[in-house]
Amino acid sequence: MPVEIDRELMKGSISLLLLSLLSRGEMYGYEIFQEAARRSANAFEFKDGTLYPALHLLEKKGLVNAVWRTGDNGRERKYYSLTSSGKKAAREYERQWRYLTGAVKTVLESQ
């Protein structure tokens, strides 16, 4: 049964999620939307307009590059790819995430 993830909880992990997906190669918005759902067995479904503002924020921070170009399907789409700082940030966020979830897990299991 799918679990409804609290917005605030989701907010903290969205940058890591996007950087992690983009570390596999450049993608446009809808591809990211689909990949996130597919890879998480539909646990992550970007609702409430979180995906595009989050992508724009990463672009503003210089962690991703965005270019409009025509894809293989003949449609013009805005493709996002990681910059070198984005690659570094992806590794760093992942390290922090593993540390945090490990610590939270320890606390939860100690109860």
Partner: protein, 265 residues
Amino acid sequence: MHCADALIARIAASSGIPSRKRREEIARELRAHVEDFASSARLEGHGEGEIERMVLASFDHPARFAANFAWVYRRERAMVRLAIFGLGTVATAAAVSAVVFAMQAGAALGFGRAPAEVLASRHTAIEATDILATVAAYVGLLSLENFFQSRRLPKSMAVLVSISVVLACAFALAGERAIFLIFGCANAIFLRSLEEFLVSGKSRLVAATAYFGLFGAFFFAVLPRSSVSLSAWLVSWAIMGVGYHLMTLIGAFIGRELSGRLPQP
């Protein structure tokens, strides 16, 4: 997909992003998303009516969507607001100074003194600083009101007073004259209150002229006596009152014209 187009246009328009190019790009990106979403749904065998419902469901909180974009572009909006404040202040101060000095030059002639004698004095420099401080505080007050949803005027006044006190302390610590900041803040609060509580423009003009006339009388009594007669002194201050009333009209007009081009989140 007209329903989605209208929703996307609403999201882009209410995102508060100052750049029209950026807003158009966001709308284009969201339209591309809807196009891909609909294509996938068609491949999965969904009907058009159902697809439309699914698209609308994916945009179920357009206001939150726009608010998320507004948060991402908050710095750009703040920069534009600051530019509006700067331009509004400079344009209004220039217009008010021109009117006040022209009227004072005319009054000087009426009192048998050469306009150059009045305009070249140190008093003119002080007056120009006071006008700039009052206009900056007044236009600042108008700008601050945009940041609050309820009890906008009292909250904006509280922020303005805090800013003025901090600036005045900084000026005083640096050994600079700070009274013009307090004077500007008090004038702005008084003139903005007049607009709030007096409906008639004539009443506001009379109140502003009387207020500055009283200020003039007070300063005439406490400041060291100059060669200027009481009547000339009071007329000069009354002219300031007329000038500041004019400022409320020009400042509000310029502020409206400039910020009308900025989309509100």
